[in-house]
Symmetry: D3
Subunit: 322 residues, 6 copies
């Protein structure tokens, strides 16, 4: 039985600057019950090693998402006709105690999974993805470790920071591999670039089987070839999609904590996101949008558009699966 | 029978940057039924003669109002313990047709009045106050024309702009006097300053009986003396309070369309707002907050704090009246 | 008999930051008499459905245009040696009454046409193009409906907004087709992208014969192939060129009301503009530069450079025609 | 015989954002012939020891001056009814060779004086005042050394910078005293503050007879008492008024090269400027407005308003003298 | 035996924009050995409950401090002639683990104290003051609990946040009182204002004997009377001075995490700081300067000037004590 | 005998926002003795014809360079393991007297050369490169005139500005050719674009043998082909590399005085910089980073990354040469 559908406020009737800012101008609902996809925010950046601010990401992505209309321009998909989707608000995560925060995030996502909805979240820094992955992994243990499609400037598979600290936004995917949450042989990281701490910094990840596509390789091959490889790698197995906004060039996404010049363009990003069609996606996020470092809201607008592209892919895949 | 009360989200439990942005972090409700005071936005600036942008005011005042806590620091009043107050959203006003917009605003306020709530709104440009006043005036015709306490750099009692245009944000109070909505002998305008079009620009208003307190007079007498005069003038008759953010000095409220240097300070503004205690207030607004011209959100924060001061005065007066 | 020529102030003699800001540092003249091309501003944005501000476009494009020198770097054309061109100022359009504004714009352009000059204007929002087209169309009725080359993120061929409002910056080209001002079979729109209200949103335009080149098609074919098609489509018939700055990627033109990520680059834009050589251009504009949303003047600089490219094409075509 | 008068564009007819930006929206004229007061810009900052940018001052003050209306709010004076005043443009000063620049400025002002107009200029850094003073001094040698009323955070009477450099924006008034251009016993400097290079930094000036009113003294005595002293000191002898925008607190005038916290407010500045009534003013300027360091144009707006206050004082004095 | 003195780079010889940014352009030294006063940064904001960013405070205060010259304008004191003072760099505090960070700060300050220098630091959020106080307290146990002069908008004596978290920037002084680090009967808090969580929010502090001077009381009495009371309260006993930049009005110090309108001005702040002369100061800090929220560096400039005022008071007191 | 090596502060131990800002977080040293490469700043922009501000470049590039890690992501080169490199501070150049400034710069570089280090500097405007080239040329006269690889939007080979001024940032390479400092037949300029003063503006340069690769040619051929040509042209002869940040597109490097739209991307810039491997580089610089016009530090970050790419090429070439 299909779930009841929700529609965004129509900007051709009520102007975009009017009304409460929710993701895509969708209704704000109290729980994920009855939803196929739960849009939510995870306003926490306690794993950030340099410039904090991603805690403010959800609110600004909501603000800018009022610029998004209801239908995808290329596929013609209206996700709200296919999926029950709404804005379930932000997880209530306190900013002071990192260990407690990771638990709060995991519990929040677990609740959404238990209510039958797929989480599509806006961070927060990239460490927020770790408890999200843990919750999704535990929600269906039979499914086994998850695949990962990661758009990012950084591999985020470092081991320790600041002496012996295992949990920062530079380490989530190492932890997730170690914990059996992710299957490294079905992990692909696209856009990796920027100076590194050591020549062998990515060796551990590669040794586990992680496929790292540097920006240089990406520039040579282009989004279509890269995404064909991604689809082949993921096949039909369950995969999570994580989009670190710093994968995009800082001219197009300046509002982030660790910018690296020479990134992929938004046009390339959109081409890649559309290439996710057909994957078995079990959750997705957009992270590291940091409004205090943003300029004119452009990063939040980019984040909102990435969020919409992800939602449309989920709707498209649902349609094909159905 | 008291109406059910609402409380803001507690920032000591859930951080201020989390959750949907509503006025004061209060619940968003669908109608003003059951409310004493309805917080609402009027996102319209079609009466602006120079720099538009106040249409974006409600959203940013909501964002910044998450910095406001629940109790007034001087009076100790917790307005939410005395008044049923919530965020009823924005009036749906289209930005293209000014005449239709004025009707939409008047109808929206009329609805709130009919539901028994007092409107406390955030504009929008100052022309939005005209239809608000019309609706309040008509909601209780027996009450007669209203008094007005206006904090502002400009008198807004001009006659025509751009040839023969009677409705701009420079003319609302002339129209309101002409229509019998306001009683000019119980109107006071505080903070008036800035270059003028003609030496006799304020003569019409003065001839009707409007009391204009220029910034120079204000500077000589101070907020206490000025507010004593205001209270004497208003006595117990019904009055509306309108706070044009450009009354405040542009260093403290740069985000507005028609800044005039040499304004009153926020400290002076707060002293004056607290001096409204005891008045019979039938509605109030904060207007001309224009986020595209704001700097670091300071004007929206000032607007949100003015809104809270107004709410506390309403609660204080209610308590005294009760 | 050639008209008297005007030259910009020479930045190698008088620094660019000195003097009154006029378009290209050209003389400000009181009328278009004696000009081949009249540079003018149309500071009006009353058709804007979301973020106003394009009313401030002409002034900032003038400011930034002081960075432009007198000779085109690729063609070597010095337009001021071939065309009598000057800055005729802004049309005096009031911001309050949209219907009156459309009349004021049409009359202003009609006057320029009657004085024998071709209008090259800076908006203003995209609705300003409608009265410009009407005036040019009427100035020479024998010429028939005009062709249109439109660089834009949006088709602007919607029907109604906010209930039943026929005139917004989302509708000008539908109105122009309906009125017989434009010939839809000689209309091409390049760069169209962004989420839409309905899957068939562009169907009406396509049914009339409008050629819509989406950003995806553009990315596949490149500027040279696209412009070859444009030239073939336009042939020698009279055409108007309209450049909505939001066609360019928001990283390069953030100062606009309705940004859509994934746009064409300035380098691509310049390649396309140079590809207009040979067309029979009867007028042109740059619209939707919105300084309140701009960052460091980059959008106004882009707008000024687009204006110069258009002027050079006009000079080149004149030379070839001559 | 009275000179022909000029009027600004009327913002109640043509919006403020329309048209070329000239000072006060006055006509741009080619020379000072026929003017009582010549408004001009001196876009040069080659004397700046730290943060350059005042070269861009005239253009931005022009932009912001479109917010100024035609009549003074307190005196009711419409300066354009009493004085022939127009915008004569900027002096053409090259930015590379400081010695040549000082000559260019002096020649430009000499020309204006010879044409019978009083120069009211916008800088430029404070070194620009030196050649202005030289030219005015020479224009009427019989008049003797001039008095000076200086609003400023800094005394600008240092001797040498960077080894042996006698001409910087920290030295103009020492040079002017040494050259006999200024009479130090009729010089007053108001608002002086900020850390200094040496405890006796102001001793030389004091030894010459310069009256230095520190911000601390100003705070104790207030603008009325201070200006009474200024008027007594100046009596009826010819005086120049120079307003360094950094005299005002940086919260109200952030766009300047050498900000010092704790300055006077704009309200205090306006009170002092109005206290200039009755002086025999032979020229005046507003300097050190530096747009690259400004925020939202607030400093340029403050500068434009100071310019208008000065103009109204000139008109008032003329009327009284007449 | 006097310690060797250090002098800042002289801006009259080498421009302020040149060279490495150190506090006051003083030498950067590797340790506090041989110093009377150690200028240092504590770049940590892990106690921030809302908007982080004060971690970037030290770097920006260093940048802006290059505007400060070597001599105090009122007292004529050149602190570098009386005190050996240099920039000892930042404490190396990791941003991830709050408990470890508090230990790192305490150890760093203990080291400076052991080297015989008085710490004058720039935060960081206000929780950084707690470990600083602990270290100073332990460095000389015989001295007993310390007095505190606190300039601030907030009392920072709350108990718990986010459930049961005892360490945030809202709680340091409650902890310090509980731990016997501070003597509450010699604590004074000036400038307290802003909405509160509960009417009795400051009751605990008052019950301990803390003297809270609200902004309203301050406005009535003025800086001189307030500081006379402070000096009487502190007498000759050892006291710490903490200056939260949010005590100053947000128009003058916008770059901070928890702005409250209606604060004291910089002029008032300077008057109060100068009123500290004669106190037995054992350490001092400037906290909560948050560059990501700053505008044009004005908050960092204010912070740097406050730092210089504190340094001059230390030099003055030393001289008097000596 | 190898020189002692220096290492940057490790951001995995001490956060990037901590500590004094030096280039790449390297030690600040007092002289270039013992260094292979001296990183230095040249904070001077007295040759700027329009928007000054590059004097502030070194400080902001230092700030942003704290984002750079120690190893190149593509080559795996850790330059600090191969070269002794440190931050020698800024040349002390006064901003007032241009002729003296050029001498000060030449003397400063001569000192570094005499100490045996290769200068890698951050400007400053492009005129600073002239005295740098003079010093390097004179340091080893036997070497003959130098080659030049110039990344830039402008050729900078004009003759005179503002009448007869031979030294501006538009003329350095004409002077260097005339003086025999550069060998024009081994000069290549990449990215040239933007409107010009005259059709034959580049003719003099081309006549001397300078190879100008316009942005249009670059766009056709791509970075690999262009750099192959550069390497063939330079062969093994000594060459200087100068990177004017305005070569990069203004969306990626807005903070510069003379932006021209349509530039190369950072990705293309990095590809070209890596193509410098194998050249005999005798010095290099990054110029025209102008923080007052920058947005969110993106230009300074780009400049810092270019600096790191240049450093890695020097290390790579050293290794190969060794």
């Amino acid at each position: 039985m299909p779930k009841p559908l929700h529609e965004p406020v129509d900007a051709a009737l009520i102007p975009r600057f009017a009304g409460h800012a929710t993701f895509m101008r969708l209704p704000a609902v109290a729980s994920a019950e009855g939803l196929d996809v739960a849009l939510l925010g995870i306003p926490w950046d306690g794993g950030t090693t340099n410039r904090a601010g991603a805690r403010h990401g959800p609110r600004e992505v909501r603000n800018q998402s009022s610029l998004i209309r209801r239908v995808h321009p290329v596929t013609g998909i209206a996700p709200y006709e296919r999926l029950a989707v709404a804005d379930v608000g932000d997880l209530a995560v306190q900013p002071i105690d990192p260990a407690a925060a990771l638990r709060q995030i995991e519990e929040g996502i677990a609740r959404i999974c238990a209510q039958g909805a797929l989480p599509l979240s806006v961070g927060g820094d990239h460490l927020t993805t770790l408890p999200v992955l843990r919750a999704i992994r535990k929600a269906d243990p039979a499914r086994g470790p998850l695949g990962l499609v990661q758009f990012d400037a950084h591999s985020d598979t470092a081991d320790r920071y600041f002496g012996d600290n295992p949990y920062t936004h530079g380490t989530p995917f190492r932890r997730a591999i170690e914990e059996g949450v992710l299957d490294p042989r079905r992990m692909v990281q696209i856009g990796i670039r920027g100076s590194v701490y050591a020549p062998d910094e990515h060796q551990w990840a590669r040794d586990q089987g992680v496929r790292i596509i540097t920006i240089e390789e990406f520039a040579r091959r282009g989004p279509d070839a890269v995404m064909a490889e991604v689809r082949a790698l993921m096949a039909n197995a369950p995969a999570y999609v994580t989009f670190d906004i710093d994968g995009i060039d800082p001219s197009m996404a300046p509002g982030t904590g660790t910018p690296e010049i020479g990134g992929f363009t938004t046009r390339e990003a959109q081409a890649m996101l559309r290439g996710l069609a057909g994957l078995h996606i079990v959750g997705a996020d957009v992270v590291e949008v940091s409004p205090p470092f943003d300029i004119g809201g452009i990063t939040a607008l980019t984040g909102a558009t990435v969020l919409f592209e992800l939602l449309c892919v989920l709707a498209e895949n649902r349609a094909e699966a159905g």
